[in-house]
Amino acid sequence: MRRILVSLLCLVALAIALPAQSHQEGAEHSANQEETHGEGGHDCACHEDEAYDPGASAFHHISDANVFHIAGEIYLPLPCILYAPGQGLSVFLSNKFHFHEHGNGAYAVDGYVLNHGEVMRVAQAGFPMEGEVAIECFTETHTEDGKTINQVIYEGQCYNLDKKTSYDGGIMGGGVTSFYDFSVTKNVFTMLLTFVLLFFLLRAAAKGYQTNDGKAPKGIQAFIEPVFLFIRDEVAIPFLGAKYERYLPYLMSIFFFILGLNLIGQLPIFPGSGNVTGNLSVTAVLAVIAFVVVNLSGNKNYWQHIFNMPGVPGWIKIILTPVELLGIFIKPLTLMLRLFANITAGHIVIIIFVSLIFIFGKAGESIGGSALGGVMAVPLTMFMMSIELLVAFIQAFVFCILTASYIGAAVEEHHEHH
C-alpha cells in the first residue's frame, strides 16, 4: 500500500514538473513578439456569423480548459496561476473572467482573457495590462501563411492574442507563448479526482485483507482483487519472472491510473469529460517514467545487446547499433502516441456523431433535420461508447503489458540464442 502511494506521488510530481520544463524556448519567442508589439489595435467590430464547424468543435471539446463547463450556463471556476516574465504572478479564480456563452470571458484580468475556456494573453501594446476591464468579444484573423491568430475586441479595436500555453512544443497547434500557465485546469482537476478515488478504492480493498482475513473477499475488495491478480499473473510474472515484486507497484499504479482516467473521461457529465489520457503532455509524462524505469533497471546484457550485439558480424553492428539506440527512444514514443491516439480518436468520433444533429439541422434552422440527425446520432454514439469502454480497458492493459515487456527485456539475466 505504501509503495502504491509513493508511486502515485511520483506520478503527480512528474505530471506537474513536465509542463514547467517545456517552456525554455521562451527567449526565442520574445523576438517574434516585438513585431506584433509594434502598434496598437486597429478598428474592428463584433459579428456573429459563425457557421457550425464539426472539426473545430471536436478539437474544442477534447482540449484542456481553465474552466469546467457543467451544463448550459453553469460553470465550475478553477484556480488560475499565471506567470508572465516582466509582469509577475497572477493568481485568481477563473470566474473573475465572468463566463458567458461558450466559456468566453466577458472581462480581461491583468491582460489575460478567457477564449473558449482557454486562458490567452493579449500580445499587442495599447491594451490595459492591469486590473479588470470589460471586453466586447473574440474574433480571429488569418495570416498570409495560413495561420490563425485569435483576437480580442476592446473599445472597438482588435488586439492580437497569444495562443494558450502548450506543453507539446506546438505540435497540437499551440506554439510557444509569452506566459506560463500553471493553473489547475480541467485535466489537472480530473487527475486529482482520480487520485482521490483510487486512493480510497485501493485503501478499502487493502483494508479488506485485515478485516476479512481467512474469509472470502467482500465489497470493493472482491472487485479489485481479480483485476489485481490478472495483472500480476498475466503481465508481471510472465514478463518479469522472479523479480516481478520489485516492479509490481509501478505496473499497478500505471494500470489503475490509466484505467481510472480512461473511465472518468468516458463520462459525458460533470465529474467526467476531462480528456486526460487523450492529452499528449499526460501520455508524454507516463512515457518518460517508463523510459526512466526501463533504462535505469537495464543490466549488462541489456546494454550489450544495444551497443555490441553478441553473435553478429562486425559490419552488421554498424547498422544494428544505431537502430537499437533509436529503439530506446522509439519504444516510449510509441507508448505515448498509442494511448493518446486511441483515446483522442474515440472522443473525436463520438463528437462527430453528436455533430450529426447540428449538421443535418443546419445549426437549429431545420427541426426535421435535427430530429433525423438525432435518430442517427444516438445509436451510433452508443455503439461508439461501448467500443470506447472496451478500449479504455485494452489501452490500460496494453500500456501495462508493453512496459512490463520492456522492463523484462532490460532485466533479463541470460539470453538464449535461438
Binding site: 495560413g146 505540435i171 497540437m172 498475466e234 503481465v235 510472465p238 514514443l333 510509441t334 502516441l337 498509442r338 493518446f340 491516439a341 486511441n342 485494452i394 492493459f397 496494453v398 503489458i401 508493453l402 515487456s405
Partner: protein, 68 residues
C-alpha cells in the same frame, strides 16, 4: 494538396496495419482451435503483437494529421 497527400498516407498506414492485425487475429484463432488449453497465453500475446503493429500505424496517422 499536402492535405490530400496526408490523407492518402493515413489511408495507406491503415491498410498496412489492417493486414497485419488481420493476420495476427487469424493465426491466433487457428492456434486457439488447435490448442484450446493455451487460450490465455495466446490471447495476451495476440494483444501485445497487435499493439506493436498499431504503434507503427498510429505514428503515421498522427504525422498525417499534423502535416499541413
Amino acid at each position: 494538396m499536402t492535405g490530400t497527400l496526408a490523407a492518402l498516407g493515413a489511408g495507406l498506414a491503415v491498410i498496412g496495419a489492417g493486414i497485419g492485425i488481420g493476420n495476427i487475429g487469424a493465426k491466433a484463432m487457428d492456434a486457439i482451435a488447435r490448442q484450446p488449453e493455451a487460450v490465455g497465453d495466446i490471447r495476451s500475446n495476440m494483444i501485445l503483437m497487435a499493439a506493436l503493429i498499431e504503434g507503427a500505424a498510429l505514428i503515421a496517422i498522427i504525422l498525417s494529421i499534423f502535416v499541413k
